[in-house]
């Protein structure tokens, strides 16, 4: 397929995007952070109940896209449009790589509860509302299958157990959209598989659209409706097996890329633009390329406080 067949700045329209309804729609968005262009001309539309993954090499701005959709980062051009019936404060959000300090003496139940009433002022007085909150917390804990350990301090739990409780917290307000930033990161393979299955079940049973940033598509490949593959010049979206192909990725990154399928159906991408010239990875001193948690959070916090 000739490279010119996919113009770099015009993403593919997929069948799902052609559907009329959307929960949130990103149109021709650009983001610039600290004078550095992260990506430009990104389009994405998330339909109700859809399970979508945002993929791409390190430093391409996957987390940035999630934050831009949430409104935690400003767009320098373009727009993010929410469906009118979406309560923006009830969007479930799980930032990247959160693990709790082993000495943190707060129970899993309390962490889930913060998702239900953590933004309310005053003390929870005993009464109908308090009982309803407790009921909701137990529902959520059962939903993610955390009943066996939710009463223990969260710092003592394993990464997979913490992740399940955080997903329960994110679901507290019955969101129409769940945004997960690398929730499978730092989990072992069995836990990756079971958390992926859990997210897919929630997406289907609770009718929640899921946008999930991932650096490895394989644990979720079987569950995905669509992938958004992000490059600096735009994004390509569509069914996983249509997008993750040598031709599409070669066109997106303007460099030869090969996609191999292993015997068990896993996809392996070879030759992604990981060259230093294109993106400075984890060890780069200038922080934007890789979002090492702290720097990133500080940055977005300061942005929020300024915008207030």
């Amino acid at each position: 397929m000739p490279r010119s067949a996919i113009p770099r700045h015009a993403p593919l329209a997929s069948a799902a995007e052609a559907r009329s309804g959307y929960v949130v729609e990103v149109r021709d968005a650009n983001v610039t952070l600290g004078g550095r262009v992260i990506w430009t001309h990104v389009n994405a539309s998330i339909a109700p109940g859809e399970f979508v993954a945002i993929l791409g090499p390190n430093g391409v701005g996957k987390s940035t896209l999630l934050k831009a959709i949430l409104g935690l980062l400003p767009l320098s051009a373009g727009s993010v449009t929410w469906a009118e019936d979406v309560d923006r404060r009830a969007i479930g959000y799980l930032p990247q790589r959160r693990s709790f300090d082993a000495s943190l003496r707060v129970r899993g139940l309390d962490v889930v509860r913060l998702g239900v009433d953590g933004d309310r002022w005053g003390l929870p007085l005993p009464g109908r509302r308090s009982r309803a909150t407790a009921r909701r917390v137990h529902e959520l804990v059962d939903l993610v299958g955390a009943g066996g350990y939710a009463h223990r301090p969260i710092g003592e739990l394993s990464g997979g157990e913490q992740q399940r409780l955080l997903i329960a917290q994110a679901l507290a307000r019955r969101p129409r959209l769940l945004m997960l930033d690398e929730p499978l990161d730092s989990l072992d393979l069995p836990n990756q598989a079971s958390v992926a299955a859990l997210i897919s079940r929630i997406c289907r049973d609770e009718d929640v659209a899921v946008i999930m940033v991932a650096h490895d598509v394989n644990p979720i490949l079987g569950y995905l409706d669509r992938v958004i593959y992000l490059g600096h010049g735009g994004a390509v979206s569509g069914a996983p097996r249509e997008v993750i192909t040598s031709e599409t990725l070669t066109a997106l990154y303007d460099t030869p890329i090969e996609v191999l399928t292993t015997a068990d159906g896993r996809l392996v991408v070879v030759g992604q633009p990981e060259a230093p010239a294109h993106h400075t990875d984890r060890h780069a001193p200038d922080g934007h390329a890789h979002h090492d948690g702290r720097h990133d959070q500080d940055q977005h916090r300061s942005r929020r406080s300024r915008s207030r």
């Binding site: 309390d110 913060l114 953590g118 933004d119 394993s158 650096h215 916090r301």
Partner: protein, 302 residues
């Protein structure tokens, strides 16, 4: 006052008949409750270093107040609350700062102590030198001072109750709290001011250097024993009250300073709680887990 007898009720009754000692018990009770509540949040937020610094800044404040002849309590409150605002507005410390010990706060602390020694030496008449200001005293607490303690303490507890849930949320999970509309930065500032006022209250009995006897130790002890928020705070208050009452009781008959008794009793509770927690953990068999991330994710789509 008669010497110690084993009739403890009679002992206490006699103490309370002396206005000076009655005021000490009243002040101690108020301080214990306020410090235990605020301390619980301080431990949760890992802001012990900031708490200690705020208390230390109270030392030059109190010393200056004595030197200038204005009330010592005014010195504590104004210095601690001003320092809280300064720390809150420091750009680096304001965001995530004191979770790691910030060198900026350390610098403020050293300078504050230096100013304190200056003010103490400027005022020649301070009985016993800076010892009472640094290591605490239960003598000389006036009825007006008790009323001030109650008013400021009630305000601190009321504010803490109003912000309790969003404060916990923003303490353990600032990003999600922010995404959910919690004003994380504002809460940072409010809590620092609350912490400053609490440090100023506690310093009036514990002295600037030993505030942790009431601010940190009861809360840390309670968190060792329970991870539940409500019972944890209640337990911290109970420990603080037992600590201050027994320390005052002993100090009345003892020649050694109250700061020593307070801190030793609080430390004793902490050690007991640590032993209890260790025994409990040993009894509960902890299943071994594969360390997160120990298995390499096979090369997939990145």
């Amino acid at each position: 006052m008669s010497p110690f007898s084993w009739n403890l009720v009679a002992d206490v009754r006699e103490m309370w008949s002396i206005p000076l000692l009655l005021n000490a018990f009243r002040a101690g009770t108020v301080i214990a409750v306020v410090a235990a509540i605020v301390g619980w949040f301080m431990v949760l937020r890992r802001q012990s270093f900031a708490g200690h610094t705020l208390a230390l800044v109270g030392f030059p404040g109190a010393a200056a107040a004595v030197w200038l002849g204005i009330g010592i309590a005014v010195g504590y409150y104004s210095a601690c609350i001003a320092a809280a605002l300064v720390i809150a507005l420091l750009p680096a410390a304001g965001r995530r700062g004191y979770r790691e010990e910030s060198s900026v706060i350390g610098t403020v602390q050293a300078f504050a102590l230096a100013c304190g020694t200056l003010f103490v030496s400027l005022y020649k008449g301070l009985l016993g030198g800076p010892t009472a200001l640094l290591f605490g005293t239960f003598l000389g607490i006036s009825s007006t001072q008790v009323v001030t303690l109650v008013i400021v303490g009630s305000a601190v507890v009321a504010i803490t109750a109003v912000i309790a849930r969003p404060l916990v949320f923003s303490s353990i999970d600032p990003d999600v709290a922010a995404a959910g509309g919690v004003p994380v930065r504002t809460l940072d500032v409010i809590f620092l001011v609350v912490l400053g006022a609490t440090a100023a209250e506690a310093s009036q009995i514990t002295g600037s250097l030993l505030v942790f006897a009431l601010l940190l130790l009861p809360a840390a002890t309670a968190q060792r024993l329970t991870a539940r928020p409500g019972p944890g705070i209640a337990l911290a208050i109970a420990i603080a009250l037992v600590t201050i009452w027994s320390a005052l009781f002993i100090a009345v008959y003892s020649v050694y300073p109250i700061g020593f008794w307070l801190t030793t009793i609080a430390f004793g509770f902490y050690v007991l709680a640590s032993v209890a927690a260790a025994l409990r953990n040993a009894r509960r068999s902890v299943p071994t887990r594969i360390a997160a991330g120990a298995l390499p994710a096979a090369g997939g789509v990145r």
